[in-house]
């Protein structure tokens, strides 16, 4: 069921009615049932994988929690008799047992993810290697189904496990409640990746029908549908025209495709998250925001603090920090400072960790060299901008332009262009072609094509361009005006009749200008494939 399909909205309408009619203490049970039905309808075998993740994580976390409780009781009982060394020894023996459960659970779940997502990618690479070596043997590809949202729910479940292991949260006692945390259906499609601490309370508590909250949720859903159907699914036609014929559409077309894809991805992903958060709000559930006006970021680090926030913080807290404080990295830090001095020596381990994390981030997005190259390019650009920081500081000391409107605009445009260029790895079929097309922007002097109305149609009509231009202006204006507060809060302040008229108009715009019908196909969300 696509978020943009009529079946899905029929499903939501039924759930909504039942949710507020049944006794409130059963609301979370209904959400669990709805989530499993949603997943079953997507593909019955998906249920096997999500159930394995749910059960193994629940059990391992429970065992880790029990061991901690036993430790506390034992230490309390022997607090008068245990020496400091005995206490330490006992604690470390308990930690070892906890670690066994922890590692086993991580291996099972990341193992399932790796097997389903990367087996065929690995086979393809081995076959390429065999071909280079000149042997005639080839491995056969495996027929595996990648369950919808597996990268998202595996990360969410493993985040919970790590939090329990680190003592940040207590394990959930009910497997059914935990199953809801892992499978909450609006999040299954493309995140956000929620933390147990943030989501659990709001997910399990009883929710009264609150007109304002439901109305806010409904508005958010409409806004998400507007982004997805009016912008993303329309501009997709032009993006596909450009990237599928790289020999024909080079030079200036690559630049147009790059900018169009940036708009498409933004509208698609943020629109999808708007729908997710909106559905949750309609049900009285609050999910953490995943974006904070990313295209107003002033540099790449700032961008990654604003784009897909829950994924970025997951990698930071559960990979970047643990890796940075691990024995090998600390040893490398000592070694490099001794050999290379404090300046460079201090930076080497940080850079290495950054590259490892961005390699993993790329791999998480998809099993192809394009995504790995995309991840590593992000890491390299972040490292370069870190390395040049003293230079920037000197520049800003000499020329106090920071904070001036013109310089701020320059920073924003620079970041938009940089991030859009890096995103080209998503578009073209392989890494060498991406580099070739990137180069062609500077070497092919076909700028005159920009003024050829026939050539620039790219599969869209003049009316499509008018709709796209108007919708993109609305999108940018809403992003800029975020500083003045949420759009819905501002809408709430205007008279009810005008407010409802505007919401009605937004609905009409989606129905009239949404990309349906001949030549269009309401597509799955881009992030769903990750």
């Amino acid at each position: 069921m696509l978020f943009t399909s009529y079946e899905f909205w029929g499903f939501i309408a039924c759930l909504f009615l039942l949710y507020y009619l049944i006794p409130r203490k059963y609301q979370w049970v209904m959400l669990l049932a709805a989530s499993y039905i949603f997943y079953f309808l997507a593909h019955p075998t998906y249920l096997i994988y999500i159930s394995v993740t749910t059960m193994t994580t629940f059990y391992a976390a429970m065992r880790i929690g029990q061991l901690l409780n036993v430790q506390k009781a034992h230490l309390e009982l022997n607090k008068e008799t245990f020496s400091k060394e005995e206490k330490q020894g006992y604690k470390s023996s308990v930690r070892k047992k906890q670690r066994k459960w922890f590692i086993a659970c991580l291996l099972i779940n990341f193992g399932i993810l790796a097997f389903l997502k990367y087996t065929n990618f690995t086979i393809a690479n081995i076959n390429s290697l065999l071909s280079v070596l000149g042997t005639g043997e080839r491995l056969t590809f495996m027929n595996v189904i990648l369950p919808m949202g597996i990268s998202f729910y595996t990360f969410q479940a493993m985040g919970y496990l790590i939090d329990v292991y680190q003592g940040k949260i207590k394990p959930e006692k009910s497997i059914f409640r935990f199953a809801l945390f892992v499978s909450f259906f609006p999040q299954l499609v493309q995140g956000p990746i929620s933390r147990f601490n943030d989501l659990s309370a709001t997910l399990y508590e009883e929710h009264r029908f609150d007109f304002k909250e439901v109305s806010y949720g409904f508005q958010r859903i409409l806004w998400g549908l507007f982004k997805k159907l009016v912008i993303a699914d329309r501009i997709l036609v032009a993006v596909n025209t450009i990237i599928k014929e790289p020999d024909e559409y080079n030079g200036v077309f690559v630049f147009v495709g790059m900018m169009f894809y940036a708009i498409q991805l933004y509208a698609d992903f943020t629109g999808g998250i708007d729908i997710t958060i909106g559905i949750a709000e309609v049900l009285g559930i609050r999910i953490k925001e995943n974006f904070n006006a990313p295209f107003l970021a002033k540099n790449i680090t700032d961008y990654w603090r604003r784009w897909h926030i829950t994924m970025g913080t997951w990698f930071r807290d559960y990979l970047f920090y643990p890796l940075s404080v691990s024995g090998p990295i600390l040893n490398l830090s000592r070694w490099s400072r001794r050999r290379l001095g404090d300046g460079l020596g201090r930076k080497i381990p940080v850079y290495l960790t950054t590259l490892i994390v961005w390699f993993a981030t790329g791999l998480w997005h998809g099993s192809s060299w394009n995504f790995i190259a995309w991840g590593l390019t992000n890491g390299i650009v972040i490292i370069i901008s870190q390395a040049f920081e003293p230079l920037y500081a000197r520049f800003h000391n000499k020329f106090p332009v920071k904070g001036k409107p013109l310089y701020s605009a320059f920073e924003v445009i620079r970041t938009v262009l940089l991030m859009s260029a890096i995103r080209m790895f998503d578009c073209y079929r392989d890494v060498p072609l991406t580099f070739r097309m990137f180069g062609s922007m500077f070497t092919t002097g076909n700028f005159s094509a920009l003024f050829d109305r026939e050539v620039m149609k790219l599969g869209l009509s003049g009316a499509d361009y008018i709709v796209l231009a108007a919708a993109t202006v609305i999108l940018i204006a809403s992003g800029i005006r975020r500083k003045e507060g949420s759009m819905r809060d501002r809408l709430e302040k205007i008279p009810a009749r005008r407010r409802y008229l505007m919401i009605y108009l937004l609905g009409v715009i989606i129905l009239l200008f949404g990309a349906y019908g001949v030549g269009y196909d309401a597509t799955q969300f881009i992030y769903n494939q990750f």
Binding site: F320, P322, V325, V350
Partner: protein
């Protein structure tokens, strides 16, 4: 404490770490700074800060960080 302040000043010479608060909340220390700090604390104080202690409240001021080092050192 002085040793810690001098490590912090090595990262940002222009900040008065003896007085400054909200170092993480206000973006003075980013994740790069934090892991550089963890490595230096490991070698200077022989105290290993585990990942679960990398929380804004432990790095928001030199005082909070010093308390963390003392607590971990005692354990």
């Amino acid at each position: 404490m002085n040793e810690l302040i001098s490590i912090l000043n090595g990262l940002h010479p222009d900040v008065d770490f003896a007085e400054a608060e909200g170092l993480v909340d206000n973006g003075v220390l980013d994740s790069f700074d934090i892991i550089s700090l963890v490595a230096e604390i490991d070698s200077e104080f022989d105290v290993r800060i585990p990942a679960e202690e990398i929380l804004p409240e432990n790095f928001n001021s030199a005082k909070a960080l010093y308390e963390l080092i003392t607590r971990l050192g005692d354990n």
